[in-house]
Amino acid sequence: MTIDEVQQGIINEFSAFDDWMDKYAYLIELGNELPPLDEKYKTDQNIIRGCQSQVWINAEYSEGKIEYRGESDALIVKGLVSLVLRVVNGRTPDEIINADFQFIDAIGLKEHLSPTRSNGLLAMIKQIKLYAVAFKKING
């Protein structure tokens, strides 16, 4: 599956919800299911401080692909982190560098990426891309 196909899968999943409450209930479910990030990764280096909530992100590179782990202290944000991880995990640096994450807009959750939301999500996506750029550089 391509990165765009994974995004399309999420869009299809969310198209089943006609009510915002159902959509957010699903996000909460995803947030609760996201495995907690090991405390050893919750370092100052991995934290993205928002005004409202915080996000931690860690990345590891192996055999040409990147595995990200992440968490947030807010459940809605955690649900969104889970969706983003579903899209980026197991991808090559190039795939991530070129990804547009348009699914967030398509499922009607773009407001969470607004800089004024200050939930750390926008910075997290930027950080995910920076990791990809760095891994690409290191590994040629």
Binding site: M21, Y24, Q52, S53, L75, V77
Partner: protein, 405 residues
């Protein structure tokens, strides 16, 4: 006389809108309050009728603007009962007012090894300017703590005041907890050791009578946009004997007496501290906001807001696992809480979707959050135009959010 809320709400058409298909409930007044029609009209009148640069022209519109602008200084003087109009300085807001004092007072009176005393419950605006001053002068910032109910430990103040203390800066009402501080007692303590006091009245000026002469404070600061006026305008009250000894904060037009390359002399108070073209339109708007508040009467405002706050406290107390922050005898304006393990961002998100505006997060008072070891709170804050039905809807909405977690 009690307030006719229904007719008051007609002066705030913004309150009648629908958001996400639901009637909008605005409970974020401590962040910014809504603006009544008379304020908008006053500013419109400037732009449509007499938009001239004050103090600078000999023509009709400039003279008219100057007159209206200076009338507001008299209104503020009366509103806060300042001894003289020269002690009222217009600024951009509370933050600029505090920065002005931190800079200019600091230049005149603070030296290496001196101390500035603030409280643990201050807004960042009443912490960071003092930290900058302390860094600049190699001075030390000391902190008055509060207890777990949010009560400021005033009994610790005498020990914190030393011969090196140059200023005590404290908020009248905590923006994060709604705690009303016993500022008269604090001022007495500070003055007994000849330490001047700055009061941050940003969360107080529209909720209670702030009488600077009676209080005896040396500086008092507030913003227009939290008291039903426009953004970008605020005030600094300062005692003349201190202001006279303080150097200008910013240089530019209006604040000078004579400029030449061999040296510049400065204008008299209050103009010494009003560099550049002032926000005269907003100042005139602020004047209209004072008229509005005077029109409905501060005592009526106090009584109704007190009733709203008590009601909110009572209604929200019925929610399982609710925890309040700020539980002192004297509370004002805001109610700050968390429910169970629900993160404030999540709660705020859901309340927004239900058409209810509250503030969530650390409220620019991170030391308060650190005190309690929490990431933030949910804060509902009230104005005289709020009604009990809105509090009922908030309570129901909070219960509904709980059921989702």
């Amino acid at each position: 006389m009690s307030l006719d809320i229904e007719s008051i709400r007609k002066d705030f058409p913004i309150l009648e809108q629908q958001v996400y298909g639901k009637p909008y409930i605005y409970l974020d007044n401590a962040a910014t309050s809504q603006t009544p029609l008379n304020v908008l009209k006053a500013m419109n009148d400037v732009y449509n009728g007499y938009n001239g640069n004050p103090h600078r022209g000999a023509h009709y519109m400039s003279n008219k603007t100057t007159a209206e602008y200076e009338k507001v200084r008299d209104k503020v003087k009366l509103f806060i009962n300042a001894p003289t109009r020269e002690e009222v300085i217009f600024t951009k807001g509370t933050t600029e007012s505090i920065n002005l004092v931190a800079y200019s007072f600091g230049e005149a009176f603070v030296n290496e090894g001196d101390e500035i005393l603030v409280s643990e419950m201050e807004h960042h605006s009443n912490i960071v300017p003092w930290q900058l001053l302390c860094n600049r002068k190699k001075a030390n910032l000391k902190v008055i703590p509060f207890d777990d109910k949010g009560r400021l430990k005033v009994e610790e103040i005498p020990a914190l005041l030393s011969s090196r203390t140059r200023l005590l800066a404290v908020t009248m009402v905590s923006n994060a907890m709604g705690v009303v501080n016993p500022v008269e007692e604090i001022i007495d303590m500070a003055h007994s050791k000849n330490v001047p006091v700055l009061l941050d009245a940003a969360q107080a000026i529209h909720h209670m009578k702030v009488d600077v002469e009676k209080l005896g404070c040396d500086f008092m600061v507030f913003s227009g946009h939290k008291m039903y006026g426009p953004t970008g305008v605020g005030c600094l009250f300062g005692k003349k004997e201190l202001l006279d000894k303080m150097p200008p904060f910013m240089g530019g037009g209006e604040m000078i007496e004579k400029v030449s390359f061999s040296g510049t002399t400065f204008n008299q108070l209050p103009y010494k501290f009003e560099a550049g073209t002032p926000n005269f339109t907003e100042v005139i708007g602020l004047g209209a906001a004072i008229d509005y508040l005077n029109g409905i009467g501060i005592n009526n405002v106090i009584a109704w807001e007190h009733e709203l706050l008590d009601y909110a406290r009572k209604q929200l107390s019925g929610i399982k696992n609710i925890r309040f922050f700020g539980e002192t005898e004297h509370q004002s304006g805001v109610i700050s809480f968390l429910v169970g393990n629900i993160h404030p961002y999540d709660m705020g998100m859901f309340l927004d979707k239900m058409g209810i505006a509250v503030r969530t997060g650390h409220h620019c008072a991170e030391p308060v959050m650190d005190h309690f070891g929490i990431p933030g709170t949910v804060r509902a804050s009230f104005a005289f135009y709020n009604i009990k039905e809105e509090i009922d809807k908030l309570t129901d909405a909070v219960k509904k959010v709980m059921s989702m977690f």
